[in-house]
Symmetry: C2
Subunit: 198 residues, 2 copies
């Protein structure tokens, strides 16, 4: 039986990812414990380290999946959006907001995981980020046809960052919780203004 070991490894890996994903989404990143994980997966704590380098590796794997789901939601919203590029941007931003609200703890884990300061961002992160930026850049290119690429890149980043900031502070409990419809109104307000031809 060649590959029996590899099969078990793969099954364990998948299992650990699913358990970690559920734990993070239900109780948050800080509730993730190596011992709980092992006990739920029915394996020894050491087995985790045969499959992942450390817990951060596992969290990054979960984050990659979360980021991918986020990208898919935004893409789906874009596909169903009207032709008007401004409306497309608003629909995507509100899809971003909805994802963050519906998957709050998983979404927070995307940013709360501690990265080694010198280590580069993982490839999948840059790829997914690039995909999101592309979704934004396309309507922007329609709205502002006559700008150079650097300016386009800055505008894309500024737009994403602004929406991200609105969602981040809007969902933050410390800011005493802004109602969801107010967040959506802020998003629409900002995007309409940012894309208005001066």
């Amino acid at each position: 039986m060649a590959g029996k070991v590899a099969q078990r490894r793969a099954a364990l890996r998948e299992n650990l990812v699913l358990i970690a994903e559920r734990t993070i989404s239900e109780k948050g990143l800080t509730a993730l414990r190596a011992r709980d994980l092992a006990s739920e997966a029915g394996c020894a704590v050491g087995a985790i380290y045969n499959v992942f380098g450390d817990l951060t590796d596992l969290v990054l794997t979960v984050n990659a999946r979360t980021f991918h789901r986020l990208g898919a939601d935004v893409a789906e919203a874009l596909a169903e959006a009207p032709q008007d590029p401004v409306e497309q941007l608003i629909v995507m931003a509100q899809a971003y907001h909805k994802f963050a609200a519906d998957n709050h703890l998983s979404w927070r884990a995307l940013f709360d995981v501690e990265r080694a300061p010198d280590e580069a961002a993982p490839d999948w992160y840059l790829e997914e980020m690039g995909r999101l930026f592309a979704y934004i850049a396309d309507p922007l290119a329609v709205i502002f046809p006559g700008r150079d690429s650097h300016e386009h890149a800055l505008l894309t980043r500024a737009l994403f960052s602004s929406v991200h900031g609105i969602v981040l502070l809007g969902l933050d409990q410390a800011s005493s919780g802004v109602p969801a419809e107010d967040i959506d109104r802020m998003i629409a307000l900002v995007l309409r203004q940012l894309t208005a031809s001066s």
Copy 2:
């Protein structure tokens, strides 16, 4: 000698805050250790817990000071700004950016400290936040005289959140580091557009 104990307590408290402030600003929140703190302050670890409930309390005290310095910097920038309300907003936002860049680790500690999910935000936080919001709301009231207060509040929050998001992602290493002048350009771009009368 009445109050000799109280004096020592106060001196220790001040000392601990200063050491923690320096540690956070130089090495980041995650480098703060109770034992290192005690050894630097020349006291026992237990003494920390006579003065602060736990390390989070100490960090929150440091954060209050950081937030206050941030507010002062923004206020100073506003005082030196031209009369034009749009320029005032830009100058304040760029002062916010400069503070975050110059005090990166201390600024990060403002958001990275873990808060108990049910616990309310501390008073000083709401006060300082309110002060910052007031700095923004004043020029906005000049620019948009005819809006109701709820809309003003939303616009103020949206504006702050957008600038915060631009600075946050701009300074984030994972986004491969946006040059400071590009961050300032994004800030100016966004604020000019957001305050343009449609």
